[in-house]
C-alpha cells in the first residue's frame, strides 16, 4: 500500500495543498487533471524529487517522507522516458543494479525475464535515440522494474506514443500490474486513457484534489462541475430539486434514487442519451427537441439537441445518424435513462 497523507508542496508560483489518497497493491491509480494542475509535481514529490513541506508518504507502512529518492524503492517512468542517451538499452536497464544489493544470479534472471517479457532482446545493443516510442517506453519500464520497486510511478505513460504503440503498452502495463501486484500511480490528462487502464483515480486542479475514488465513481458520479466536465460529462446544468423531480431549464428529469435536497446541479453523459423512434412518446425522461448541430467526430456524431432552454449534447453512432437520416433542424425524441441522471451539490 502506498499512502499519501495530506502532503503539501510549495514551489515558486505553485502550491500543492493537502493531497491525500492511497493506492493498494492491486490498483492502477490515475492522477487526472489539466496541464499545470500539479499532477507531475505530486508524482515527483512522492518520488522524493521535490521537498514535501508537510504531510506523510508511506510505502508498506514505512514512512518514506524524508528519504531521498534513491532510498525509496519507487520506480519512476517519465513521459519522455528519460533514457540515458550515452548508454545502450542494456546499460540503461542495468543502470540501477549496482546501487542495490542484487546477487549476480538474481540480476541475470531478472534481466532475462524482463527483456523477454517486454520484448527487448533484439534491441539491447541499440542506442535509445534510435528507438521507436514504444521501444523507449518498454526500455524505461524494464529499467524501473529491474530494481523490483515496491510501487511504480508513471508520468503520462501513453501520451507520447503513437496509437499503434499505445494499445500495446496499455495491455503491457495492465499485465505487469497483475503480475507484480504493486501499486501503480499514473499521471494523465486524458480521461479516456484512464478509463481503459486504471481502476482508481483522483482529479486534481490548481494543486488541490477535487475528487478521488474508483474510476467508475469519477466517471458516473462526479462531485463538481469541473470534475464532471473533465471526465467528459458534457451536459451539466444548474437545477432545483422538488421532491423526486429535477428541474433544469424548463425540463423535468427523474433519477433512479430520490435526489438529495441540497443538490444544485444535474449531469448526464452524452453517450447515455438515446435517440427514440419518431412515434415514441410518454415514458420517464422522454423529451422532444430539435437538432441544432451534428458534428462528425470519426466513428460518432456529437449532436446538439435543443430542449426548452437547454442544449443537450449526445453521442450517436454514424450508423444511427444515417439510418434515422438525422439533420440539423429536425425534431427528435430522446430518452435519458433514469440511471444516467446524476445530481450533485457544487462545492463552495
Amino acid at each position: 500500500m502506498l499512502a499519501i497523507d495530506s502532503i503539501s508542496v510549495h514551489l515558486p508560483g505553485f502550491s500543492l495543498k493537502a493531497v491525500s489518497f492511497s493506492v493498494g497493491p492491486s490498483d492502477i491509480f490515475a492522477l487526472l487533471g489539466p496541464t499545470g494542475s500539479g499532477k507531475s509535481v505530486l508524482l515527483e514529490a512522492v518520488a522524493g524529487l521535490l521537498h514535501i513541506q508537510s504531510g506523510r508518504v508511506s510505502l508498506r507502512e514505512r514512512d518514506i517522507t524524508k528519504l531521498p529518492p534513491e532510498s525509496r524503492n519507487l520506480g519512476l517512468v517519465y513521459q519522455d522516458h528519460a533514457l540515458f542517451p550515452h548508454m545502450s538499452v542494456q546499460e540503461n536497464i542495468l543502470y540501477g543494479a549496482r546501487y542495490h544489493k542484487i546477487s549476480e544470479t538474481v540480476r541475470r534472471n531478472r534481466f532475462e525475464r524482463l527483456t523477454q517479457r517486454l520484448r527487448l532482446e533484439s534491441i539491447l545493443r541499440r542506442n535509445p535515440l534510435t528507438l521507436s516510442g514504444g521501444e523507449k517506453q518498454r526500455t524505461a519500464l524494464a529499467r524501473a522494474l529491474m530494481l523490483n520497486p515496491q510501487a511504480l510511478l508513471l508520468d503520462e505513460p501513453l501520451s507520447a506514443l503513437d496509437q499503434v504503440f499505445r494499445d500495446d503498452i496499455r495491455q503491457m502495463l495492465k499485465g505487469l500490474q497483475r503480475e507484480l501486484a504493486i501499486p501503480f500511480i499514473l499521471v494523465s490528462h486524458s480521461f479516456s486513457e484512464v478509463l481503459l487502464l486504471a481502476n482508481k483515480g483522483a482529479v486534481i486542479r490548481n494543486g488541490r484534489l477535487q475528487q478521488s475514488g474508483t474510476v467508475e465513481d469519477l466517471f458516473e458520479r462526479p462531485r463538481s462541475a469541473f470534475v464532471a466536465s473533465f471526465v467528459g460529462m458534457k451536459n451539466v446544468f444548474p437545477c432545483t430539486i422538488a421532491g423526486d423531480d429535477i428541474q433544469a431549464g424548463g425540463i423535468t428529469l427523474r433519477k433512479q434514487e430520490a435526489p438529495a435536497k441540497g443538490h444544485t446541479h444535474v449531469a448526464v453523459r452524452p453517450e447515455e442519451i438515446e435517440l427514440l423512434s419518431r412515434d415514441s412518446s410518454g415514458g420517464e425522461n422522454v423529451l422532444q427537441g430539435t437538432i441544432k448541430e451534428l458534428d462528425c467526430q470519426g466513428f460518432y456524431y456529437l449532436a446538439a439537441v435543443q430542449i426548452g432552454s437547454l442544449v443537450l449534447q449526445a453521442y450517436w453512432t454514424r450508423q444511427l445518424v444515417r439510418q434515422a437520416n438525422l439533420r440539423p433542424g429536425q425534431n427528435v425524441a430522446i430518452e435519458i435513462p433514469a440511471r444516467a441522471v446524476h445530481t450533485f451539490a457544487e462545492p463552495a
Binding site: 522524493g48 531521498p68 529518492p69 534513491e70 517519465y78 528519460a82 540501477g96
Partner: protein, 266 residues
C-alpha cells in the same frame, strides 16, 4: 528561398554587414601575409620567442585546468540550484568581462601585494604573485573564468533534469548521478569551456603587464618588441600567436556544434 531573398532589403543587409567583415579580415589578412615564411621560421628559432609562446600556452592551459576544477561545481550550482543571492553570483561571474584588464591586474596586486595582510600571508606561505608564473596564472584564471563558467552552465542547463531524476529514482545518489549521467553528457561543453578559457587567456595582455611583465608571455613580448624595435620586428611573433589562436578557434568551432541530437526526445 530565392523569392524570399529578392527585393532591396537583403542586399542592404549584406552591404551594411560588409564593414564588420572587412574590419576583421583585412587587418588579420595583412598581418598574416606581412611576414614571409623564412621570417616566421627564423622567429620560431629564437629561444625568447619559443619560451614566450610556450609560457603563454602553458599558463593558459593551467588557468583552464583551474577553471575546470573550481568552475565546474560553480557552473553546476548555477545551472541546477536555487539559492539566495544566485543572481548576484551570476553577475560576479560576468564581472571580469566588464572590468578593464589593467584594473584587474591592479586589483590583484592590491590584494596580493606586501601592503595587504592577505598578500603578506601569501608571502609567508611562499606564494608570490608579482612577477611569477603564479601571478600570470591567477590573472589568466580571473579573465578566463566567465567564459568557462558560462559555457559549462549552459551545457548543464541543456541536460534535461529528468535524466538526473531518473538516475536518482534508480538508486544513484547525487554524486553518482553527477559522475555517471551529468558529466558524460556535459563533457563537450566542459571541453568547449576550457578551449574558450584558453583562447581568452592566451591573448591576455592588459592585466599580465601589470602583474608579471616578466616572465614574459607572448603578448607582452610582442608589445616589448613593438615599442623597442617597431612594427616589423613584432609582426612574426604576432603571426604565431594568431596561428595558435586560430587553432583554438577551429577546435572551438568543432566542439560548439549543436548537440541537440543527444537529447532528442527529452
Amino acid at each position: 528561398m530565392l523569392s524570399a531573398a529578392r527585393g532591396w532589403f537583403s542586399p542592404l543587409l549584406f552591404f551594411l554587414s560588409l564593414p564588420f567583415i572587412l574590419l576583421i579580415t583585412m587587418p588579420l589578412g595583412e598581418l598574416l601575409t606581412s611576414s614571409g615564411l623564412s621570417s616566421l621560421v627564423q622567429t620560431l628559432q629564437d629561444p625568447q620567442v619559443l619560451r614566450a609562446l610556450s609560457r603563454s600556452i602553458g599558463t593558459s592551459l593551467a588557468a583552464a585546468c583551474i577553471c575546470l576544477a573550481f568552475g565546474t561545481p560553480l557552473a553546476y550550482l548555477l545551472a541546477r540550484r536555487r539559492f539566495p543571492g544566485k543572481r548576484l553570483v551570476e553577475g560576479l561571474v560576468d564581472l571580469p568581462i566588464m572590468i578593464p584588464h589593467p584594473v584587474i591586474g591592479i586589483a590583484i596586486l592590491s590584494l596580493a601585494g606586501r601592503y595587504h595582510p592577505f598578500g603578506r600571508f601569501l608571502s609567508e606561505i611562499g606564494i608570490e604573485i608579482m612577477g611569477t608564473y603564479t601571478g600570470i596564472v591567477t590573472v589568466l584564471t580571473f579573465v578566463g573564468l566567465p567564459f568557462y563558467v558560462n559555457t559549462v552552465k549552459s551545457g548543464f542547463e541543456a541536460i534535461p533534469v529528468r535524466l538526473e531524476n531518473a538516475s536518482r529514482s534508480l538508486g544513484a545518489g547525487m554524486a553518482s548521478t553527477f559522475a555517471r549521467i551529468t558529466l558524460p553528457l556535459a563533457w563537450r561543453s566542459m571541453l568547449l569551456g576550457m578551449i574558450m578559457c584558453t583562447a581568452r587567456a592566451i591573448s591576455e595582455f592588459g592585466a599580465i603587464v601589470i602583474v608579471a611583465y616578466h616572465p614574459m608571455t607572448a603578448p607582452v613580448l610582442i608589445y616589448e618588441r613593438f615599442t623597442a624595435y617597431g612594427l616589423k620586428y613584432s609582426q612574426p611573433v604576432a603571426v604565431w600567436l594568431v596561428l595558435i589562436s586560430f587553432c583554438l578557434f577551429v577546435l572551438m568551432r568543432l566542439f560548439s556544434r549543436p548537440c541537440e541530437t543527444a537529447y532528442a526526445g527529452h
